[in-house]
Each structure stands twice: as structure tokens, then as C-alpha cells.
């Protein structure tokens, strides 16, 4: 009985309904989309994972992170390295190393040979970096614009670093040409579909996690830290710890998005991780509604979709369109499209069922 009533609380039903609808739509997609479009959608879902994390860190926690490309890239490169090694077979050397490198696998690649440790590293390395960096930065009370610019510089540095290490990272070429994903042939459309479903499930899981975090006390605390960091300290909390948690969660989500992006897109290169893509991740979040749950996901998918289809028609049109989106939404609709929905709902007569 109580379960029923809590479930039927207005806020909760709406969220559950939206969540269920999203899940059904995602599951139906393979039936209606061509393999190419499904592949695109799968890619968009991976980018949306980054957006979900940003929604938490930025929308809730006020951490404008302009460097999510770093974590996306870490996840992607770690996965790509594993796939390269797996393709090369036991003891084998990835093709590009034979061409540009010493023909030997550097020691720091070796841990990625095993699938299990690869998956672990994809989760742990970004989390550790984010924790370390977050800790260093937040305990020193670097925040606001400082943090934004610093994280942007980090993305720039990361891209430059990747480009400069051609022998071991593939340089500007990045890593590509993967044949199999944990033993499953990537050329087989059925496996592509499986990848899509994995991406969809992971994305839904992430949304659920972020929802739990935002409605929890942690979510309230995060907002409190965003608005009055110093005050929180006088209540006995360490605001740095709160921020680090949000930052790490966002980083791991970005990394998982990156890791799944690799087998789906078939490539990762420094152009996917630098300053420009890092800011690109933010558009969808802002447009969908940074402080809402599904806003970042929907916004991110919509923007990716618009980018692909508009640039098919008008190459330079996309740039104008993207610029205009940024300008109009952020300046005139800071709550994102979700806020339009909210406004409309409020205008509806009081008491009408949501």
C-alpha cells in the first residue's frame, strides 16, 4: 500500500513514466532504423552518457567542466588499446606500432591485454584521475571560472599529449580499424545491434543513478555547495569531498561513454577529446536543461542528430545553426527546453493531472 502511494506521488509517476517511455523507445529503435542509422543512434547514446554526467556535475553541482573530453578520451583510448591488442592476438603488436613505432608494445599497454583488467582500468583510471585532480583543485578552493578554464586547459593539454606520442597513441590518426569486441566480430550487423542495446541499457542505468543521486540528500547537499560553499563548511561538511564525488561520477560516466563509443564508431582520435568536443558536450546539456534529469540526454541526442542531418544538407549551415543554438538557448532560455515544458505545464489549469 505504501509502496503504491509513494510510487504514485506526482513527481515520481512522471519520472517513472518518462523513464519507461524512453526505455521502450530505445528498445524499439532496432526494429525501425537501418543499420547505419542505428549505429549513429548508438554513437549518440554514448555521447549522451557524457551529458548525463555533466548534468550532475554542472547542472546540480555548478561545476562547469570544460574538460570532459579528457575522461571520454581516457575511456575511449583504454578501450581502443585493448581492442588493438586483442586484434593483434596474444603477444602480438598492433599494426600502427609496426609502422610508426619501435615495433614493440610499450610496457604501459600491457595491462590492457586482459579483457577484465581493461574494463577495470576503464573505470578506475578516469575515476582516479578525476579524484586526484578534483581533490587538488577543490580543496584549494579553485572554483567557478577558474575551474572552467583550468579544465579546458586540461583538455587542450591532453589532446596535445596524444598527438605528440604518435608511436604509442597513434598521434592525430588516433586508433582505429578494430576487428572484434571481446571476441565478437564488429563487422557482423547482429553484433552492432548488440552494441546498441548495451549502450542503451548503460545509458538508462546512468540516468537511474543520477536520479537517485539528485533526489537523495547528497543531491541537496550538492546544490547547497553550489550556492554557498563556504556556508556548508560551517555545518561540518567538507564541500571539496562533495564536489569530488560529483566530479568523479561525471568522469566515470564520460569514460564509459568513451569506451562504448570506440567499438561503435570504430575510431577514436585526438579530435574527439580536445577543447572543441569538450565544449560540444555541453550544448546538448544546456539545450535539454542542465538541471533536469532527462534534459541532458534528450538534448544531447537531439543535438547530435541535428549535427548529422543538418551538416548533410548544408555544411556551413551546421556551424551557424550550432552557434545560434548556443546563443539563443543559453541567453534566452537558461533552463533549457525542459523549462519551456515546465512553463507550459504551469500555465495549464491547477490540479490537472500531469
Amino acid at each position: 500500500m505504501t509502496v503504491l502511494t509513494t510510487l504514485l506521488r506526482p513527481g515520481r509517476t512522471r519520472t517513472l513514466a518518462a523513464f519507461g517511455l524512453a526505455a521502450v523507445l530505445l528498445l524499439l529503435a532496432p526494429l525501425v532504423l537501418s543499420p547505419f542509422r542505428l549505429d549513429l543512434l548508438a554513437k549518440f547514446l554514448c555521447l549522451a552518457m557524457v551529458a548525463v554526467g555533466i548534468g550532475l556535475a554542472w547542472g546540480r553541482g555548478g561545476l562547469l567542466t570544460l574538460g570532459q573530453g579528457v575522461y571520454f578520451g581516457l575511456g575511449a583510448y583504454l578501450m581502443a588499446m585493448h581492442l588493438k591488442l586483442a586484434d593483434a592476438g596474444p603477444g602480438g603488436v598492433p599494426d600502427f606500432m609496426l609502422l610508426y613505432g619501435t615495433g614493440q608494445v610499450p610496457g604501459w599497454w600491457e595491462p590492457l591485454r586482459s579483457p577484465v583488467s581493461a574494463i577495470l582500468l576503464i573505470l578506475v583510471v578516469p575515476a582516479a584521475l578525476a579524484a586526484l585532480l578534483g581533490w587538488a583543485v577543490f580543496t584549494r578552493r579553485v572554483r567557478g571560472a577558474y575551474f572552467a578554464i583550468l579544465s579546458q586547459a586540461l583538455a587542450a593539454a591532453f589532446a596535445i599529449l596524444l598527438i605528440g606520442q604518435q608511436q604509442t597513441t597513434g598521434g592525430t590518426n588516433g586508433l582505429n580499424g578494430f576487428r572484434a569486441f571481446f571476441g565478437y566480430d564488429l563487422a557482423d550487423p547482429v553484433n552492432k545491434q548488440m552494441l546498441y542495446l548495451i549502450a542503451a541499457a548503460v545509458l538508462l542505468l546512468m540516468v537511474a543513478i543520477v536520479r537517485q543521486l539528485t533526489v537523495s540528500r547528497f543531491g541537496e547537499l550538492l546544490v547547497a555547495v553550489r550556492d554557498q560553499e563556504d556556508r556548508v563548511r560551517f555545518l561540518g561538511y567538507d564541500p571539496a569531498a562533495v564536489k569530488v564525488v560529483a566530479y568523479v561520477v561525471a568522469a566515470v560516466m564520460a569514460a564509459v561513454g568513451g569506451a562504448l563509443f570506440v567499438p561503435i564508431a570504430g575510431i577514436v582520435s585526438p579530435a574527439d577529446v580536445g577543447v572543441v568536443p569538450s565544449i560540444g558536450f555541453l550544448i546538448g546539456v544546456a539545450i535539454g536543461g542542465r538541471a533536469t534529469l532527462l534534459g541532458p540526454v534528450l538534448g544531447s541526442i537531439a543535438v547530435s542528430w541535428a549535427q548529422t542531418s543538418i551538416s548533410e544538407q548544408f555544411p556551413s549551415g551546421w556551424i551557424y545553426f550550432q552557434g545560434a543554438l548556443f546563443i539563443l538557448v543559453i541567453a534566452f532560455l537558461p533552463g533549457g527546453l525542459a523549462s519551456v515544458a515546465g512553463k507550459l505545464r504551469r500555465r495549464a489549469p491547477e490540479g490537472s493531472p500531469a
Binding site: T172, G183, L197
Partner: protein
């Protein structure tokens, strides 16, 4: 739970070992009186500067071919895609052109990164790419035709020329990516075998704009010549700095392999006048085919638009594909590649011949000097087309390279 349900619903697991290499059935439709081909160039982003020109000359070739009755009597229908200067987008758009638009062949790409990104897509889908830019070699894919120079048609001849001029020491300056690094690896091997001292090797990130340190190093190294593999904007900053510290082609000539006619204006003629370039084509090449090409291009795009090597190679690539298709009397990839060997075209640069083994083409190497008119004038020529040798197998000194 969702994941498990979904997976068991699909159920189609593929064993790790089983090599299905399920290349999708081609969906190219040749039943009508048109045939689709794809152009994939960066029309936005940092590479748009260069790739727009390639796109323009591809359009020109397509127009000419259509005006001339098409290919096998079918009119060409162009599907254009923007690579946005990003490898990932190139891969995505290549996939789209092949599987969604069902084009018979794709023309485009510029940076090696874009080519590397597209390569697995074309191989997996067993489709065709024509790539028009000089590159670092060490590659040959059954699904790609390379109509720009490989290293033995551009870099090696440039080095031969320098040796001929009595060059004993070289300074290498390049952008930090695959092409310059690989090129410089080759140059180092060559230098060792030919008694040339490499007195410095410097890389700048793409887009780097402050060359005072690198130019300082070049200046104090005092080499006989500089071999320049910088790409894009960096050339401007490099040559301005070079001139500002008071150096010129007379003191220490710079041989560039990525500066073509359309870049000269942006760098400023006064900054590069007298410097050398290595290509297979210049606008000034004196041949009837080139005269026609330059005239047609200017008529289409304006008097002030120069023509350049990559543009010419792209233009040529479309005609080569036409010739292959007509020789094969089929648009099917298998048939086209089978017919490719020995196909020739009287290109603006001179006659080119397709090598069926490595899918490159025989080209004549030209060393040029940048003139006060902003054009590049041939200074030295290999006279004969050079057979493509992407892995430098015919060069002893290159043994250790790959």
C-alpha cells in the same frame, strides 16, 4: 536485466574464432540511367581551406564527364558529405555514403588521419575510395586508389635534387603528426646512406603560431637547406619569422612538400619567393591537357583561383575511375579493381598509369621554385613518370623502415 533480455532476444553470438568477415552486400544501384558517387571533403573546420579546393575540382571533373555522356552512359549523381576536419566524422560519413547512399565510389580525404579513419570502413564494406593527396606511404589497401604522390615520387626525388645541388646538411621542420614524422624517418634513412648530416629535427603542433624558438634553432644550426613538412597555418608563421630574422632562400633554401599555389597567397609572396617545393604538378606545367584544365577551372571558379597538385590529383582520380569502369564495363568493386592495372589518363600533369598491385599511380616528380607572380615554376623534373613504391622496396637504404 534489460541487457540480458535484449541479448537473449537477439541471441546471435559470434564465436571469437569464426572469421565471418561479413562484408555487407553492396547496395549500389546501377539499374537506372544515373549512378551515384560520393565526395567526402572537409567543407568546415580547419582543413576546409585546402579541401574545398579539392571538392571544387572534383565537381569540375564530374561536370565535364556528365557533359561528355557520363560513365558507361550513366550520368553521375553526386552525393556530397562534409568531413568536418575530423577523422571520426570521416569514418561516419564514409559509412553513410556506402551503406545509406549506396555510392559506387567515394572521392576525398586529405589528412592521413582522415584516410586512416576511412580505410577500415572501406575494407569492411568492400567499397572504393580515391584519395588525392601526397602522403607518407607505407600503405596500400585493395579498396583505396592513391592518386597523390607516395614518398618515392615526392620526398625521395626532392632529396635527390638536393644531393645534386651539393647539399651536405639538412634541418627538418614539420608539423607533429603522421605524415611529417614518417617523412622525416625516411629522410633520415636517406641521409645516412647519402652522407647528409641532419642537423636538427623539430616538430610543432598543428596550428602552432609562434616559431621564434624553432627559427632560432634553424638559424643557428646553419644547414645547407631546410626540409619543411609543416602543414597549414604554421607555414605562414614559419616563413614570416624566417624572413624577420633576416634569412632568405639564398642563405638557406627551404624545400616544402605541403605548400601549393593556393597557400602562397596566404603566406605572402614576399615571404616565400625563391623557396622550393616538391610536387607532381604545378599550374605552370606546359601541356595541352593542363591548359584545358586550368582554363576550365578558372572559367568555373574565377580568374583568381589557382590550380594545385591535390586539386589536379583529385580531378585525375575521377577520370581514372571512369576509365577503370569503362575498361571493366562494370561498376562492381571487384571488376573495377581487376581492371585497374595499366589504366592510363592524359592528366594535366602528364600521362599517369595505374599500378594494379599497389593501387598507386606512376607520376613525374617536379621540383619548383616559387616565383614573384605567386605561381610555382618547375626547376627540375624527373622527366619520366616514377613507378609508385609505397614501401620503398626498391631502395636499399630504406630496408629498416617497415
Amino acid at each position: 536485466a534489460l541487457c540480458v533480455v535484449a541479448l537473449s532476444a537477439c541471441g546471435a553470438r559470434v564465436d571469437a574464432g569464426s572469421d565471418t568477415s561479413a562484408s555487407a552486400e553492396s547496395c549500389v544501384d546501377t539499374s537506372g540511367d544515373t549512378v551515384k558517387i560520393g565526395f567526402l571533403n572537409s567543407l568546415s573546420g580547419t582543413m576546409a581551406i585546402s579541401e574545398q579546393t579539392v571538392h571544387d575540382s572534383l565537381e569540375l571533373a564530374a561536370q565535364e564527364i556528365n557533359a561528355d555522356g557520363g560513365v558507361l552512359g550513366k550520368e553521375l549523381e553526386i552525393v556530397s558529405e562534409d568531413g568536418q576536419s575530423e577523422p571520426t566524422v570521416f569514418a561516419e560519413k564514409a559509412g553513410k555514403l556506402i551503406t545509406s547512399d549506396c555510392v559506387a565510389a567515394v572521392f576525398g580525404g586529405w589528412t592521413s588521419a582522415s584516410r586512416k579513419a576511412m580505410l577500415p570502413v572501406f575494407e569492411a564494406q568492400d567499397s572504393l575510395l580515391f584519395y588525392p593527396v601526397q602522403y607518407e606511404g607505407l600503405e596500400s589497401s585493395p579498396n583505396i586508389f592513391y592518386t597523390g604522390a607516395t614518398t618515392n615520387q615526392q620526398i625521395v626525388p626532392a632529396l635527390d635534387y638536393l644531393v645534386e645541388q651539393g647539399t651536405k646538411s639538412l634541418f627538418l621542420v614539420g608539423s607533429d603528426y603522421v605524415f611529417p614524422r614518417t617523412a622525416n624517418k625516411i629522410i633520415n634513412a636517406y641521409a645516412e646512406a647519402h652522407d647528409i648530416e641532419i642537423v636538427g629535427e623539430e616538430y610543432a603542433p598543428l596550428g602552432h603560431t609562434d616559431f621564434s624558438t624553432i627559427v632560432n634553432k634553424v638559424k643557428s644550426a646553419d644547414a645547407d637547406a631546410v626540409f619543411n613538412t609543416l602543414n597549414g597555418d604554421s607555414n605562414v608563421a614559419f616563413f614570416k619569422e624566417y624572413k624577420n630574422v633576416g634569412m632568405s632562400a639564398d642563405d638557406m633554401p627551404v624545400v616544402s612538400v605541403s605548400i601549393a599555389e593556393e597557400e602562397v597567397g596566404g603566406i605572402g609572396i614576399e615571404n616565400v619567393e625563391g623557396q622550393l617545393t616538391a610536387w607532381n604538378y604545378y599550374q605552370t606545367v606546359d601541356s595541352p591537357a593542363n591548359t584545358a584544365f586550368v582554363e576550365a577551372f578558372k572559367a568555373e571558379y574565377g580568374e583568381d583561383r589557382p590550380t594545385s597538385d591535390p586539386m589536379e590529383a583529385a580531378y585525375t582520380s575521377l577520370y581514372l575511375w571512369k576509365a577503370m569502369v569503362e575498361k571493366a564495363e562494370s561498376f562492381a568493386v571487384e571488376d573495377v579493381t581487376a581492371a585497374a592495372d595499366g589504366v592510363t589518363f592524359d592528366a594535366p600533369e602528364g600521362e599517369v598509369v595505374v599500378n594494379g598491385d599497389n593501387h598507386h599511380i606512376a607520376k613525374t616528380a617536379l621540383i619548383g621554385k616559387i616565383g614573384a607572380d605567386g605561381l610555382i615554376h618547375t626547376e627540375w623534373s624527373s622527366e619520366e613518370p616514377i613507378e609508385p613504391d609505397p614501401y620503398l622496396e626498391g631502395y636499399d637504404w630504406a630496408d629498416g623502415l617497415s
